[in-house]
């Protein structure tokens, strides 16, 4: 039983690490602010939740697991709110989404 929990926690940790790296590359490679927001917002929630869940399985029952659970709760509340506030502020600040690359002028970067 402990073996199964151990292997499952490693799988969670490695999947979370892969999602984090893919989010970082998407952050660097995507052409537009809103696509970058997609990359960052998706990986912020799932990568953080998976890594902290793997750590929680490593820690076992106790105060450490409760602290990790609170970090998961706070991150899953604050990260989508921050992403929504960023998108709304960017739209309010006059940043337009990149709809079609063929018709658009290369004014973006």
């Amino acid at each position: 039983m402990a073996m199964i929990v151990d292997v499952l926690s490693w799988v969670f940790l490695l999947t979370g690490s892969f999602l984090g790296i893919s989010g970082g590359f998407g952050m660097l490679r995507f052409p537009d602010f809103f696509t970058r927001l997609h990359a960052a917002g998706v990986t912020d929630t799932l990568c953080a939740a998976l890594i902290l869940l793997g750590l929680m399985m490593q820690a076992g029952w106790g105060l450490v697991a409760v602290k990790l659970l609170f970090i998961i709760l706070f991150l899953s509340f604050t990260s989508p709110v921050a992403a929504h506030a960023l998108a709304r502020a960017a739209l309010h600040g006059g940043l337009k989404p990149l709809l079609n690359r063929a018709e658009e002028d290369p004014s973006k970067s």
Partner: protein, 96 residues
């Protein structure tokens, strides 16, 4: 295996930092700093487990909250041009 997770989080933090330095608009920079802060929370947690002393989780907990407050404050500053007055001036946008 904690080493692999720590290295992956460090690589992600580096990529987010490159975007924060290169970002064309200010919102890209704020987004990159937000991602950097979230990955810092994860890094503190994983590093506590790596060194066998998971006492840093309190710091990670506080960092998650302060990161959110800071991001919202910086966003409000850049949207309205100040922190105190709520939506007094509509922000005149100038590209660049």
């Amino acid at each position: 295996m904690f080493v692999a997770a720590t290295l992956a989080i460090l690589v992600t933090m580096g990529l987010a930092l490159i975007r924060a330095l290169r970002g064309p608009t200010v919102y890209d920079r704020i987004l990159a700093v937000n991602m950097f802060g979230t990955k810092t929370v994860l890094f503190i947690a994983v590093f506590g487990f790596l060194t066998g002393r998971p006492d840093f989780l309190d710091i990670a907990l506080v960092y998650a909250l302060i990161n959110f407050i800071g991001i919202v404050a910086v966003l409000k500053f850049f949207e309205y041009g100040g922190l105190g007055h709520a939506a007094k001036t509509s922000y005149e946008k100038e590209d660049g």
